[in-house]
């Protein structure tokens, strides 16, 4: 190949290709068709990012939401794995371990305490002194007796520590409490070389381990939150999408129903429904003792079922409104027209085209429904119309602890903190999820 030279013409618009291509280095191999390997090299390395991967990436950057997620995971472990590690049952009365604080004093300290506070009977001491004096051949006068009486009075532990609380006496004696609750019997068993699991949060007045009870109560709250969210998701999505998709008269009527339910005070209605439903359910359980469904109802408890029914009747309203709004805008899109032109049924269009496109909104609303259901459940249980004994709930634990609030405040503080942290974590995670799934909504 001859060397080709081109003279640059001043003002020419033709590019100066000389500098760009090295004509001399081209070989016939350069004109051969590209091999598979070369073709593969051309494809860009970066994969397209899916909706969920993108959302997850955004969520991961949100520290608050990630911490909240961590707390939720810890709480799930606490509620579902925790009871396996603690050897006490949530309804097990640990005899001799009633009213334990979440701290204890060692056996020696307890002995010191008993010695210091032991009451000395003055009459007994005087009789003893008298006998001693007689044995020594000395006279025991009334003056001696008075002196002894005064000594006993000032020296006696019972008098010295009168009007003081147990913890104050321990403090005065210079004895420090050790963490976790143990009963005296349990401490003696430890002394004998047995290993006893501590009552980390103490026990209640029946000797039930508070930690295990909070574990089961957290489990109840979580299950209720999830179940309520699922019910709301199901009913709200179906109702909202039908209302939005059909439009016209159907939409108007359905939205009027929503308006009616929306303006009802929810807690009042839930209270009412739970009250009215629970006798029905109790009767159903007693009528069908061998029915599997009835035994399921018995474990869950009639009040809880009433509460679920109430959730199902009331809480889907806001979800259905959100989905209706989304569907109203989405159904005018071209791809819906295309699907209809291809002969897709309305059900298929809603299921395959419309709902997947508002999945972000659906997930966020469902997630934020969980704390609100937990909130309501604890409210009802606190009022005594929620979860029934022997099953427990954080709300009913707080209500139980209200009577002994001045002596045993930890019984109230522990479940109260757990429920607040749980609701807080779900709220923060839901907020983070909303920011991640729908960045436009971010404020």
């Amino acid at each position: 190949m001859a060397k080709k030279t081109k003279k640059p013409v001043f003002g020419s618009l033709q590019p100066d290709v000389d500098g760009m291509l090295d004509w001399n280095s081209l070989t016939p191999a350069d004109f051969a068709p590209a091999g598979q390997e070369e073709k593969d090299d051309f494809i860009q390395e970066r994969k397209s990012v899916s909706y969920w991967a993108d959302a997850w990436r955004r969520l991961r950057k949100n520290t608050v939401a990630m911490v909240a997620l961590g707390v939720i995971i810890l709480l799930v472990l606490y509620a579902f794995v925790g009871p396996m590690l603690v050897p006490y049952g949530y309804d097990e009365f640990n005899a001799g371990a009633e009213n334990l604080y979440p701290w204890h004093y060692s056996l020696e300290d307890q002995a010191t305490y008993a010695e210091a506070t032991a009451a000395v009977d003055p009459e007994e001491a005087i009789a003893q002194a008298k006998a001693e004096a007689e044995a020594n051949g000395e006279a025991f006068t009334a003056v001696d007796e008075a002196i002894l009486r005064a000594q006993i009075k000032t020296g006696s532990g019972a008098a010295q520590y009168e009007g003081m609380k147990e913890s104050e006496i321990y403090e005065a004696l210079g004895l420090k409490a050790k963490p976790f609750g143990y009963s005296t019997a349990e401490l003696q068993r430890i002394e004998n070389g047995e290993s006893v699991f501590p009552h980390i949060f103490g026990t209640d007045r029946y000797g039930r381990d508070i930690m295990v009870r909070t574990m089961y109560a957290t489990r109840v709250s979580m299950v209720i939150g999830l179940a309520a969210a699922l019910i709301v998701l199901l009913i709200g999505a179906i109702y909202g999408s039908i209302s939005g998709y059909c439009g016209g008269m159907v939409d108007t009527v359905m939205q009027r129903i929503v308006d009616v339910i929306y303006s009802l005070p929810d807690v009042l209605i839930i209270l009412l429904i739970a009250t009215a439903m629970s006798p029905h359910i109790t009767q159903f359980i007693t009528d069908n003792p061998n029915n599997g469904f009835a035994s399921f109802l018995r474990t869950v408890g009639p009040n809880l079922i009433g509460m679920f029914i109430a959730f199902a009747m009331l809480y889907w309203v806001s979800m259905s409104r959100i989905i209706r709004g989304q569907i109203l805008t989405l159904k005018k899109q071209e791809y819906v027209t295309a699907a209809r032109a291809l002969g897709a049924s309305s059900g298929r269009i809603i299921k395959r085209h419309l709902l997947p496109n508002c999945i972000g909104q659906i997930v966020v609303t469902t997630c934020l429904q969980i704390p609100s259901a937990i909130f309501t459940e604890s409210f009802m249980s606190f009022l005594g119309v929620g979860v029934l004994a022997p099953l427990t709930s954080l709300g009913s634990m707080c209500a139980d602890a209200l009577n002994g609030i001045s002596s045993y405040p930890y019984r109230l503080i522990i479940p109260a903190i757990i429920i607040s942290v749980m609701i807080l974590a779900f709220n923060l995670f839901g907020d983070g999820l909303r920011d991640a799934l729908d960045p436009r909504l971010k404020k």
């Binding site: 929810d266 409210f379 709220n427």
Partner: protein, 315 residues
């Protein structure tokens, strides 16, 4: 406007009717007689049923009850205060609940809105973060948690604020001190919610062009915030007042139970626990009507405050 109001009023009336019917049917569907007592013979039970009209067909009973309700007769209490008219009980118990509720509402709005403005104005600064933490905490604590923590803080023997001498059991003669705890516990959640709400709506308002104009013409910052931005920023707070009323009434159940306040909320909870059906029905209808009317007022107020909303269209 008139058309819209009429439409809303009709909707509200229908809602109240639905509530009344549902309440009645739910309560009547409960198996067993309200006079269920082992000491009562079947004959006595029949007499009792006849006395209270419970032997008639359900629909007749319902019609009678509705007729009575329209004339202000909500039946009589069957257990809690035997034979006393429900309306009389409500009239006796409600004023105290209303007083506490109104005080809670007022402090929630009066504190919540300025806090929201403060957070919006200092967006992204530490004060915004601090307020966000406080308000998120506030909406995560159920009312009974707040109420019982207050008890621990103020009423225990060795509580840090026991020197104030607030009694555990509500005592009206203590005046302000008696009302402090229930009103604080009841108003905390709405206050935090309002702060969040007004923060986001204030952010919207502060981003608008007319605020830039106001700033450009040299208006003082407080005037921009409180005169120009707040007017638009406060609208979502108005829409929240309807649900807020419902929340305050129902939150009263818990707060009144914790502080042993002799109000309607505590009495309602007791009547639910005692299954005093006429009392439950009457109180439910009364409270629901209150909430529905409040929602109606708020809806109309909303359109009055924000003229941009198309009145004729309704939604």
């Amino acid at each position: 406007m008139a058309k819209y109001v009429i439409k809303r009023v009709i909707m509200a009336l229908i809602t109240i009717l639905v509530v009344a019917c549902v309440t009645f049917l739910l309560m009547m569907s409960v198996p067993g007689s309200p006079f269920n007592d082992e000491k009562i013979t079947a004959q006595q039970m029949a007499q009792m049923d006849a006395k209270y009209g419970l032997d008639k067909p359900l629909l007749v009973q319902m019609a009678n009850y509705m007729k009575g309700a329209l004339h202000g007769d909500l039946g009589v209490s069957l257990k809690m205060q035997k034979d006393r008219p429900v309306l009389e009980i409500i009239a006796e118990k409600f004023p105290l609940s209303a007083k506490i509720g109104v005080i809670a509402l007022i402090w929630a709005v009066v504190v919540g809105v300025p806090l929201g403005c403060l957070a919006a104005y200092n967006r992204g600064k530490w004060i915004d973060s601090l307020l966000r933490i406080i308000s998120t905490l506030g909406i995560s604590m159920p009312g009974f948690v707040v109420a019982t923590f207050l008890l621990i803080l103020f009423c225990n023997e060795d509580a840090p604020f026991s020197f104030l001498g607030i009694k555990t059991i509500f005592d009206e003669s203590q005046g302000v001190r008696a009302y402090f705890m229930p009103c604080f516990a009841l108003g905390l959640y709405p206050m935090c919610y309002i702060a969040r709400l007004s923060r986001s709506s204030m952010l919207d308002a502060l981003g608008q062009d007319y605020i830039k104009t106001a700033r450009a013409k040299g208006l003082a910052t407080p005037k921009i915030i409180f005169k120009h931005a707040l007017r638009n920023g406060v609208i979502p707070v108005i829409t929240y007042l309807g649900p807020l009323t419902a929340f305050t009434l129902c939150g009263g159940f818990v707060v009144e139970t914790v502080f042993t306040i002799p109000g309607l909320g505590r009495y309602f909870v007791q009547s639910v626990q005692n299954r005093d059906y006429f009392l439950i029905m009457g109180t439910t209808i009364f409270l629901a009507t209150l909430v529905i009317v409040m929602n109606l007022v708020v809806d109309i107020l909303y359109k009055v405050v924000d003229p941009r909303i198309d009145l004729a269209k309704g939604d």
